[in-house]
Symmetry: C2
Subunit: 319 residues, 2 copies
Amino acid sequence: MQIEVSLGIDIGGTNTKFGLVDHQGKVYVYNTIDTKAEQAAEKLFQRLFINLNRLLNQHPDELQIRAVGIGAPNANHYTGRLEYPPNLSWDIVDLPEIVHDHLDLPVAVTNDANAAALGEMVFGNAKGMKNFILITLGTGVGSGIIVNGELVYGHDGFAGEMGHVIVERNGRKCGCGRLGCLEAYTSASGVVRTVKTLLADSDKPSELRDIPIDTMTAHQIYNAAKNGDTIGIEAFDTTARYLGEAMADAAAYFSPEAFFLAGGVAQAGEFIFEPIKRYLEANLFGIFKNKIKILPSGLPINNSAILGASALAWHELEA
Amino acid sequence: MQIEVSLGIDIGGTNTKFGLVDHQGKVYVYNTIDTKAEQAAEKLFQRLFINLNRLLNQHPDELQIRAVGIGAPNANHYTGRLEYPPNLSWDIVDLPEIVHDHLDLPVAVTNDANAAALGEMVFGNAKGMKNFILITLGTGVGSGIIVNGELVYGHDGFAGEMGHVIVERNGRKCGCGRLGCLEAYTSASGVVRTVKTLLADSDKPSELRDIPIDTMTAHQIYNAAKNGDTIGIEAFDTTARYLGEAMADAAAYFSPEAFFLAGGVAQAGEFIFEPIKRYLEANLFGIFKNKIKILPSGLPINNSAILGASALAWHELEA
């Protein structure tokens, strides 16, 4: 059987994932390889295509690749280039040029959070929505913003950096060098920093006191919250307050139909969704109250990056 | 001579302005009438069209109206309706329906700040720009946000309310009922409130001490600043700080090519533009630094509302 697929590639600091995905979001071929960012980017793609061709040869169906979508940190949609990506030792990489050594097909490029938003719109819980914001709460905090059914790239291609709006003037130091960014409070390590503060500021008993702060994970805090641990619950409440306040401002700009929450911190479920809803509503401009949905991502977390990159490829092909 | 024009209408709490404007932004017929919001909205349009037809009959050229654009507070682009407009006693008004009693032409509707942004793009300093934000600093603070050459209306038509992002948590009471909105600090009355605080917090000499605070205007503060008055200069610096900080957050969302400043407070020229530039750059996320222009509106202030409404009509007709 001949099946049309797009090749979705997600380049991360440690691993690069790729997969072949049809129009309905079904994944036919999938693999993860080491990024080996200390080598040139060309080497990564050489290994990727050798790997991909082996998988294609083994596959019972004839998978016809129609387009390529790539999600990567600091990837610029307009230029197709990676520009000084964090956690990768490359400086500027022209992704379409490298892909064209292997495949003569359209190549679309964007950052991982933007790809995730398109994945949500094409395959996930945002099907049919024209205006929404997806926030990824992971190692960093990113966002993909959809207006009128299209990603907001802005003038230079780098729009949608909700993780770097200031939520606390002169607040916590952020990885970007500034003070008080949303990311510093609501990334996975942001939640751990909040626990650290809460533990220092009170002498409430907490199972989290037994975990060295340097090794503590957001998942451990979630487990503590599930056990009724006051500090654990409070940490997610504080995280949610910063998110709810920032989302209320975002609503004033965008009037979205929904916010989607993805990434590790969003896995805390009601410990984060319930207080976000409460803080969002408490801070919204009047005309937006009780209108905006807060939803989890509808994509499986282990495939979401591939599905996002693949959705980008399909979306651009149909544009 | 036969000339194609659009009818631009700007409905305000006290006055309603209208004009006939060609594709190049030339205004052929222009008038201002009382809104008389205590009467039904139908009465306003009856008077407007009687007045317009009289002017059309007197005009030497044959002005052929092709479309109608209306800017008004709380006007919803999607529904064409005014919904509980502030300062007007109407509840819900279906504007296209009322216009169609007089003219069988396409009618487009939006709020005044959105219309101003389109006016800037079609006739003003934003010609050729695809991504920018216009901020109106007047009685209120509004914004019109252009992404990919189109206004951001959002899911419900009410997007672009930059005046109601929170710039000071638990700060000044805003007219919208919440605390700390940008509007409470950077509207014309916001600048006066800042002067009041500055006068109370110091005993610096200032010519502004001679003006009763209830009658003080932003223009008087501008005159004081021009005379070297420390309090006057400081008031614009504080206003600019709130604007620059909010604009840095807006840049993280939108990555605009430029910000445009319009309205009364923007007339303070370098007393407001210079510190805004400084505070914006100090607060920007790294990748946006030294890229974003801050520009004055290119539309004459007395005609800007008409030109904005007319630009909306042309823009929709060509969409």
